[in-house]
């Protein structure tokens, strides 16, 4: 990044500005910093200072069939969503990025729409639609619903890398005798991998965090971690829920960091 220098503001303006921005950042970060450490509080209450530090809430989390079952459900739904959304989204981005065809704007708007539409409305529509198809209360139904929400992220991230991709490379590969599939895997995919990887991580995180669709569509067999947390929060705030939240944050962050590291290596 090149240094960007603006004419410096005088001190009497800079100080209050920095103070205000500091407070804003505190608003963004502090609630999390205040809430998450309570998962290691040895007492079942929610204020500082702690009487002691203990792993009892994490123990309660990992020893409970309800919680670990929910975690496994969430992981398998998120993995399946990642595969479906990343595949469809990547292909779509490749097809749409430079194409000129009638109604292109409409198609692009449609592709991004699930990001902006109220999730409750999408959930209602899918719930009524899935009823006669027998897709409510099924794994497949939840994965489809989550993929709908995750796909726009994949399209956006992959499109961003594709705009820097030189499509003449594909022509060159074809001239050298590579099939379209071969050219895709050997030439295009390695170059757009950072975008695909970022999209995959977004898909995973979207599904792993999603609760509204689950409230509409999931059955007892798809009791996910967020749903378990949501029911818990409406019932009784228990430090185990905070331990669950910390677990959730750790899993998502680990994935993000992994994706960043992989992207840097390329």
């Amino acid at each position: 990044m090149t240094p960007r220098r603006y004419a410096d503001l005088p001190l009497h303006l800079r100080l209050p500005l920095y103070l205000f921005v500091g407070l804003t950042l505190a608003l963004l970060i502090l609630p999390l910093l205040a809430a998450l450490p309570i998962s290691v509080n040895s007492a079942p209450w929610f204020t500082y200072p702690f009487p002691g530090v203990s792993g009892r809430w994490f123990k309660a989390f990992f020893l409970s069939d309800t919680w670990t079952g929910a975690l496994l459900n969430s992981l398998s739904i998120a993995l399946a969503t990642t595969v479906l959304a990343t595949t469809l989204g990547t292909l779509a981005a490749i097809g749409l990025v430079n194409a000129r065809f009638p109604l292109r704007r409409l198609v692009m708007a449609l592709a991004i729409a699930p990001m902006l539409m109220p999730v409750v409305v999408l959930g209602l529509g899918l719930f009524i639609f899935f009823g006669p198809l027998g897709l409510n209360y099924t794994f497949a139904g939840v994965v489809v619903a989550h993929s709908l929400l995750a796909m726009p992220f994949v399209i956006i991230t992959v499109t961003a890398t594709l705009t820097r991709f030189d499509f003449t490379l594909m022509q060159a590969a074809a001239n050298l005798g590579a099939s379209k599939t071969r050219a895709f895997f050997d030439v295009m995919l390695p170059l757009i991998a950072p975008g695909v990887g970022a999209g995959a991580v977004f898909s995973f995180a979207t599904s792993f965090d999603e609760v509204v669709m689950v409230l509409f569509i999931a059955g007892p067999g798809q009791r996910t971690l967020p749903k378990q947390m949501f029911t818990g929060l409406r019932e009784q705030l228990d430090p185990t829920i905070i331990a669950a939240a910390v677990t959730m944050v750790l899993i998502t962050s680990a994935l993000m960091i992994a994706a960043l590291v992989i992207a840097k290596k390329r």
Binding site: P44, T66, L75, S76, L79, A80, T82, V83, T86, F127, G131, P132, G134, N136, Y137, F139, G197, A200, V201, G219, P220, G221, R223, T231, R234, E235, Q236, L237, A258, A259, I262
Partner: protein
């Protein structure tokens, strides 16, 4: 991220999920301390004895969920814990298997009111007044004290449902327990109940899940609350709370098992319900939560120290009102609509 490992992992996970389908049973209850107690007293022993894999879910009594399942012919719940009015109403609507007429449940020796057309009672609970002992100089003595903001100031919590709320409002307005339901069947009686509620609306905090009252009381958000007695006893013994209970004018109800119409594992569901109304198992629940047995023969199997915490103990029964499931089955829709509009105003 390598795509291959991900694509390989998904079918493996699906397989894992599929393998578990030996004999499954999905049991749905109200969550929290009640469901934990039921798990210990009912679900775990049944799973151990029969090798059934019990999947649990919780709900908050919203019949629409069940209706959506039955209407679409895709019923994923096998056994559902209901209150009598939901059970009666769901039964009317054809949402439940008519198990009350079956011999094995008729022969179980349930106490009066414990067997409905579509539901089998599992335990007896009461809606009582719970309060923070340190909040008042003189302790409240009856459920109607929740309307007495002069003597007992502070926020108070009610369940966000007309059931019990309207009854308590009329009792607090001086109506005798025997006249409550005939009065509530008239528009004037309903208006009178809402008028009584209007007098304290500004002080009301609403709860939806059974574990909330203890939580609200312990955190100091409310000073008193209508609550299910077992949840309060549970908070006192397991969470170090010090909450008082005013038993007088308790509204007594049953927890009941039902089987949704078209449940996929209806036979296992019957076997499971039957196992919970054998006297020994039925009496076991009182060990884990302060709800009384629904089977007459189980009453003598409950230890005396546990008995004192049960709604059925004579000392606790003064002015008790038995909740009328049939009344609510008939008027629930209309009163629910009126109630939720009133709350949102």
């Amino acid at each position: 991220m390598t795509m291959k490992s991900v694509t390989a992992a998904v079918p493996a996970l699906c397989l894992l999920a599929g393998m578990a389908s030996a004999q499954e049973l999905t049991v749905v209850s109200w969550g929290g301390a009640l469901q934990e107690a039921q798990t210990k007293a009912f679900m775990d022993p049944y799973a151990a004895a029969t090798g059934t894999k019990i999947v649990q879910d919780s709900w908050s009594g919203e019949l629409a969920k069940l209706r959506a399942m039955v209407d679409s012919g895709n019923v994923v719940w096998d056994v559902v814990d209901m209150d009598p009015q939901s059970a009666a109403s769901a039964c009317d609507q054809g949402l439940l298997e008519p198990i009350g007429a079956e011999e094995m449940f008729k022969a179980a020796g349930l106490v009066e009111g414990g067997l409905l057309d579509c539901a089998v009672g599992t335990s007896v609970y009461a809606t009582i007044l719970a309060y923070k002992k340190d909040a008042f100089a003189t302790a409240p003595t009856s459920v109607s004290d929740i309307f007495d903001t002069a003597t007992f100031p502070g926020k108070r919590a009610f369940r966000k449902s007309p059931v019990d709320t309207l009854e308590v409002a009329l009792m607090a307005d001086g109506v005798a327990p025997a006249d409550i339901y005939s009065l509530l069947s008239t528009p004037e009686g309903v208006d009178r109940a809402f008028a009584k509620l209007d007098t304290i609306k500004g002080d009301i905090v609403w709860w939806e899940a059974g574990a909330q009252p203890a939580q609200l009381l312990m955190s100091g958000e409310v000073a008193m609350s209508l609550a299910w007695n077992g949840r309060i006893a549970d908070a006192n013994s397991n969470e170090g709370a010090d909450l008082g209970i005013a038993w007088s004018q308790q509204v007594r109800g049953f927890d009941m098992w039902t089987i949704p119409m078209g449940a996929k594992n209806a036979d296992a569901a019957r076997a499971f319900i039957a196992s919970t109304v054998t006297p020994a198992t039925n009496a076991d629940l009182a060990k884990y939560i302060a709800y009384g047995p629904s089977v007459a023969a189980a009453a003598e199997l409950v230890a005396p120290d546990q008995l004192a915490n049960l709604p059925s103990a004579p000392a606790n029964s003064e002015g008790a009102l038995a909740q009328d499931g049939a009344f609510w089955a008939k008027n629930g829709d209309a009163l629910n609509a009126k109630f939720s509009a009133w709350v949102a105003q």
